[in-house]
Symmetry: C3
Subunit: 157 residues, 3 copies
């Protein structure tokens, strides 16, 4: 068994799309940054890479590299899944926590789990998406950004 965790933060900004867990969400603000700035997938990529000791998302997909500008984070996740397999592991389960005041994640939870289960090629029962707020405290509480943490449990083939 191997475990890994990932953490990421992106800024909320007007005029950006909001992608979370590979799902586009209708909201008055979106996330700025690297690629489509899907902070949840970025955290998950880091959890997978961390579990196999294969660096981090910034090493594999440098924000400074123009080829990743605006790209769907699905591509990063596909690459991490590939590396997990090549290292001799399969995904046991993953657990994500999205930390923000808004939008509400609950209405999108099942779509997110479904999308991630497709991208990870695992049963939806092995994919968890949770949300919490920081009770208006800090940058997530003030709506300046969204944070995400992810856990991955890998099982040796």
């Amino acid at each position: 068994f191997r475990i890994g965790s990932g953490y990421d933060v992106h800024r909320l900004a007007e005029g950006e799309d909001l992608w979370l867990c590979g799902v586009m969400i209708d909201h008055d603000m979106g996330l700025a940054g690297h690629s489509d700035a899907d902070v949840a997938i970025h955290a998950l990529v880091d959890a997978l890479l961390g579990a196999i000791g294969a660096g981090d998302i910034g090493q594999h997909f440098p924000p400074s590299d123009p080829q990743w500008s605006g790209t769907a984070s699905d591509r990063f996740l596909a690459q991490a899944v590939k590396l997990v397999g090549e290292a001799g592991y399969r995904i046991g389960n993953v657990d994500l926590t999205i930390i923000c005041e808004a939008p509400k994640i609950g209405p999108h939870r099942e779509a997110m789990r479904q999308r991630l289960s497709e991208l990870l090629a695992v049963d939806i029962g092995a994919v968890s998406v949770k949300a919490t707020t920081t009770e208006k405290l800090g940058y997530t509480g003030r709506g300046e950004g969204i944070a995400a943490q992810a856990m991955a449990c890998l099982v040796q083939y």
Copy 2:
């Protein structure tokens, strides 16, 4: 095996009781919010639910639902433990981190572990309660709130 993580934050306020890990602590401030606002138990509930892909505490016990107003968070934990069993898992170990400048957690650690081991129906050796500060940085550092993170490792029956 399954792993899950949880994260929660509640505000410190005067005139509130301070519950952490099911133990009432004598302190000049307490936590405000949903139920008894036991931020550590809330994080643990989310870790258990996350490990089995069963949503999150906000889905099971919406803060907006008056039936949970002021309720002991023990009830949320009991329900999460029940769902873990129904999913075919038992608790391997849990590990909590309480993030605050005050109160000191050390003097209450053993009472907290004891209480959680009862609520989880596991040996106290499988229950960890840790604390850290953020060196006066951020909202936890300024004493505006307490954050907690929890990890759970589940074993298939």
Copy 3:
């Protein structure tokens, strides 16, 4: 199996050395606090102690105890590793995330993994060091401090 997580924060200050993962890094600021303030090793010590339910770094090495003033955090990690063995476990893998705007962690990643693998007496493939920023948000984003989180997966002998 046992899992544990650790989290720690230290302040950046001028005139301090910067130690991360047991490696001294050339940077214009360093971390202040307990011992050499190696926030990444502190988080890792807590992950190991958490996995075996053996308290936390503050209990074993109180910041108030002058014997730990300025000491290398390697000593804390060595003691945690010893306790893990005494509890009947060996380290499966560890995964660290360093959260800061600067310095860049990538150029030091392999030296950090190498150093940690020596201190933990595990293969370098079982040691992950990752980094992320908070996109200039919060105290890590403003460069006031560095945060670290660590995960540990232990296997019974």
